[in-house]
Symmetry: C2
Subunit: 431 residues, 2 copies
């Protein structure tokens, strides 16, 4: 006897939504064989019902399209709601009402979960439903699954990821083609690797949302977004890229979750110098990667496409299949005691510091002494030859030092117009 | 109200079994919180009950140890049997009787599954039970999960893995320390990366067992072991490593599953030259890695520890948690139509060919002409300076050519004592 189809409602039919319809169509026989019943898209909610959707019409009947989201969240026949519309507050409402109406939820929406995850996961628990969100972090990379299931027997001690493809593309192109920051952003936009307004990508917010979701799993606790230190790549210059390269490093926007021995955590997103020998340094262009250390498995790494219609849809559809099978994601909600999150000022890292000094006798020595007096010990220094009388850039690499020490020293140094002539930059080094 | 513990029986208490006990002990509170009930090791089956097991006693009560496997496979209270004893025929029996007694099975045993998987998975289906085997391939790397679940929406088109840590360690040390094959194997044994009898590792059989298991998932069909072309690393010499390196390649033992456009598959395990720029070439020492291409996700890669007590136990315990949650692995049994497996002779690859020629005028030209006449077109050639009158090694890199053409040409060439003086080696190049 044939079983009733598994009915799902899709909210959103943009790039990802269309990809989801395409993959469900492409693999329908396989899924039917695996699940013993077919997956049927009962409704597709779109903002503008008048808009023609030739791509999507090939995979879903035109009469399944609606602009009324209630037709999905309140339809008792629909077992699963798939939210791929984007936004924050509306998706939160849709997910909440879907859960309270007894439906499971699949979402690709990192922002909605980063802001409202606590409430949404709690609603899932209260209604004995599940929220699946593999596609919300690093698209094709099954990092949620790996952290929730694959590494269930581990205390994760360190996670370090390249989670924003836009930033990685921009930084890669600045190095390999010698582009300036603005040029590289423009190229990324032309190639479809950056939005028309790339702010949320380049300022690190998008990566911070993703880190907050991963941190929820590895700390087993809710992580308020404001506890994730976030710095973007907007200040990285071609000069920094070139200095870093000559020192043997690449600059990457890293999302880092690191557990200290006392059980506290560092959670931070910022540009970082990564030694070229490290695998993460070799992850180039729009590709994403996550390196994880667990107390049982040691170090492991996954890389893959972090964006794009089909890579993202692939993870959404994997979640649909998990939901149809009844696989229960674990650690969805904040069931552990909230760990102490160490503020960035307390974190100790090595630093790359670039200053522009006045080319006058003794100035360089006075800058070095100044840093030394502030407790910043210099590991190496680089100063290219300059034309006499011109301001000259100097790069210091520091030993490990508390972040707040560097921040306050540089704030003071920036005022010293008797020594400096130009901007002072600091980029953390990830060892 | 507290729920009844989830009772499991452990068969085998060697390195992996002890690791499983340790991790279950270490994470007992976490698992209890996640599952709503505790995981309890009701019985541990060992071969020699008299042997003292100080490491294991810390994590399991001494009175749970038994040398009678029936106490596990026939105990109605035990819901899950975890087989980490090794072997082939006995584990098959234990798994079969566990399944027919209504128990789920977790195993790390690639050999038993490669030989008897069809029967075991069928028994699981017939009894509506599950077999979980994440630890059987690439220990800590959750490749089974990724292929079964994460990539469920994809047709996998290519898989290429470094699945044997012993071989990878030996090949790495031959290159980086200039060791001979025997020396490198000996060092691997001293470091615990090779068994006292490393035959099954170095001859490629172990990697073939693992490829057969992965191929079962990506082809959705039973893959008889004898259809996996298997060649080990025993014939790789320090000279080959050094020539390859100067050509820009590293030699790796690769396990390759590749889908042709007509839907047929290549399944082969052999040493291969991998360009140093490829990520797989950079996976060194005992580490394992798998690169997968899917029609939706594009290319992705995972690497991590492929052996060792805790990395392997980590995957075993992850499976125990999946089983306790009731997550159902999919594609366990041969539910697709068996695909055509292309024999190695039909596969077209580039080749590295090393011959040792007599240093006589015109000999090299005659060897080159011979290869050309046989339909093997030479892409590049390398011949170091030799002392006059000495036999001299010459390396050819061929264009892509059907494997059988190379095999039969070399068989013929080996007889030509008028041209050659010494062994003739061929290693495939993976592009």
């Amino acid at each position: 006897m044939e079983q009733k189809p598994y009915q799902i409602g899709l909210i959103g039919c943009g790039t990802v939504g269309t990809g989801v319809l395409e993959l469900l169509h492409r693999r329908r026989d396989v899924f039917c064989g695996l699940l013993g019943r077919s997956i049927e898209v009962a409704k597709v909610v779109v903002r503008d019902i008048e808009k023609s959707r030739h791509a999507a019409y090939g995979f879903a009947e035109p009469d399944t399209f609606t602009d009324n989201v209630d037709e999905v969240t309140e339809d008792p026949e629909i077992e699963l709601v798939v939210e791929v519309a984007g936004g924050v507050d509306l998706p939160r409402q849709w997910m909440m009402s879907s859960l309270s109406n007894g439906k499971d939820v699949v979402t690709a929406n990192k922002a909605a979960l980063a802001f409202h995850g606590d409430e949404i996961f709690q609603a899932a628990n209260d209604n004995d439903r599940c929220v699946y969100y593999e596609a919300s972090v690093a698209a094709a990379i099954p990092i949620i699954e790996i952290l929730q299931n694959g590494l269930a027997a581990n205390q994760v001690t360190h996670l370090s990821g390249i989670l924003n493809g836009t930033c990685n593309y921009v930084l890669t192109r600045m190095e390999e083609a010698g582009l300036g920051y603005d040029e590289a952003v423009e190229e990324a936009q032309q190639k479809g690797f950056a939005e028309a307004d790339p702010t949320l990508d380049v300022n690190g917010q998008d990566a911070a949302h993703k880190l907050a979701l991963l941190a929820r799993i590895i700390t087993r606790s809710h992580v308020p977004l404001e506890q994730v230190f976030t710095e973007g790549i907007e200040q990285v210059t071609a000069e920094d890229i070139s200095f870093s390269s000559s020192l043997g490093y690449r600059i990457k926007l890293l999302s880092i979750g690191s557990r200290n021995e006392d059980g506290s955590w560092e959670l931070r997103v910022h540009p970082a110098l990564v030694h070229k020998d490290e695998v993460l340094a070799r992850v180039q262009r729009e590709v994403n990667a996550v390196q994880v250390k667990g107390d049982a498995v040691g170090s492991m790494l996954v890389y893959g496409n972090g964006a794009g219609s089909l890579p993202t849809a692939s993870s959404v559809v994997a979640d649909i299949v998990r939901a149809a099978k009844g696989d229960k994601p674990i650690m969805n909600s904040a069931n552990g005691q909230a760990p102490r999150i160490v503020s960035i000022g307390e974190v100790a890292v090595r630093n790359y510091i670039r200053v522009t000094v006045l080319d006058l006798p003794g100035v360089l020595g006075r800058v070095t002494s100044f840093l030394g007096m502030k407790g910043i010990s210099i590991q190496s220094m680089q100063q290219p030859e300059a034309k006499h009388g011109q301001p000259v850039p100097v790069v210091f690499v520091t030993h490990k030092v508390k972040d707040s020490v560097v921040s306050s020293a540089l704030a003071e140094l920036r005022e010293r117009t008797d020594l400096l002539n130009g901007p002072t930059t600091r980029i953390r080094i990830e060892d």
